[in-house]
Symmetry: C2
Subunit: 200 residues, 2 copies
């Protein structure tokens, strides 16, 4: 041990964060000790403020500062279309495309038989409520295209079958810009099955 206890402690805390290994954590502490005390304080206070102030949007489950999130507050968005995602990071990925102008519904989970997570633990009652209250036209189910995501999607489709709403699922296939030879067999099989007519 050649560094102060406090150095080792803060470095250990940082290296417990995702994507930060012990070397990167040491490098961060070296860097931070070189910064003015005010900057460290600002970082520390902003971390605590984030935890204190950020809650979930009452309507869609996205992060929000206050009652409604930025997406739900945006009156220019199409409130008749809902995109259902498992987690906020999925919402984040979709927002970054800039291709979607509807609202969201975050399940905060997925049906997972192995982990014994059933539909009752997802925000599904709230989804049905929103569809009726807001007269929603389409629900795009954007759960992940894997086993748990697929059964969650299936469950939602059945749940909404009785209502007027159109339920769609995001497309699966070969990723744009990738090579056929590197696609796994399930993806390639799906891409063949879900082939579309070429528009001329």
């Amino acid at each position: 041990m050649f560094l102060p206890k406090r150095f080792i402690e803060v470095s250990a805390r940082l290296s417990s964060l995702p994507g930060i290994g012990p070397k990167a954590a040491d490098r961060l502490v070296f860097y931070l000790l070189d910064q003015p005390e005010d900057d460290i304080r600002a970082l520390a206070e902003s971390l605590m403020a984030a935890k204190r102030e950020i809650t979930f949007c009452r309507r869609c489950g996205n992060f929000a500062q206050g009652d409604l999130c930025e997406v739900c507050q945006d009156s220019s968005r199409d409130a008749k279309v809902l995109c259902v995602v498992e987690e906020i990071r999925d919402l984040s990925a979709i927002e970054k495309t800039g291709a979607y102008r509807g609202l969201y519904h975050v399940l905060h989970g997925r049906i997972d038989p192995i982990a014994r997570v059933g539909p009752g633990e997802l925000q599904l009652g709230r989804l049905v409520e929103r569809i009726h209250l807001d007269d929603v036209r389409e629900v795009i189910v954007a759960t992940n295209p894997n086993f748990n995501g697929d059964i969650t999607a299936m469950y939602i489709a059945k749940l909404l079958a009785a209502s007027e709403v159109r339920v769609t699922r995001i497309a699966t296939g070969i990723p744009k810009g990738s090579d056929l030879e590197f696609a796994d067999i399930f993806t390639l099989t799906q891409a063949l099955e879900k082939r579309t007519d070429v528009q001329t």
Copy 2:
């Protein structure tokens, strides 16, 4: 903008740290918001405490909590050998080898003619003082083997020429485990010039 202002602010602060890009910063905030408030507070307080409590060792310039650093406090180390390094991160690299049992002297810089950093801005007066006070036997100059590090080493050797102390320089050559074909010409030239007899 689909995330709360506070989220964006804390993510921006994190992505200003070295080795953390905007994507990694967002991922960190997602992770942190999922942790208990006490954990965030502990991280924040430990960052501030580190900045407040960690200073430089009065003797060698390493990080210290208090007057002397962990290395200088360790009476089992050989106080008659000093290793001179540019920065604490170099001390850290040498300590990790476990191969050195002497003390250190951190210059907190190097002579840099282009950046107009002269010997007066380094901790050199203190070095001379230590050599005489502690009756030092050897000074190993472990500044980086590049232009600035080399002229700093040369300056130190001249500065100490009048005293009894032996001044040595860390070896340069082909890194262990690497291939000759990938070595740059300067390294390879040095490795040839500084060849040693094979011990049999």
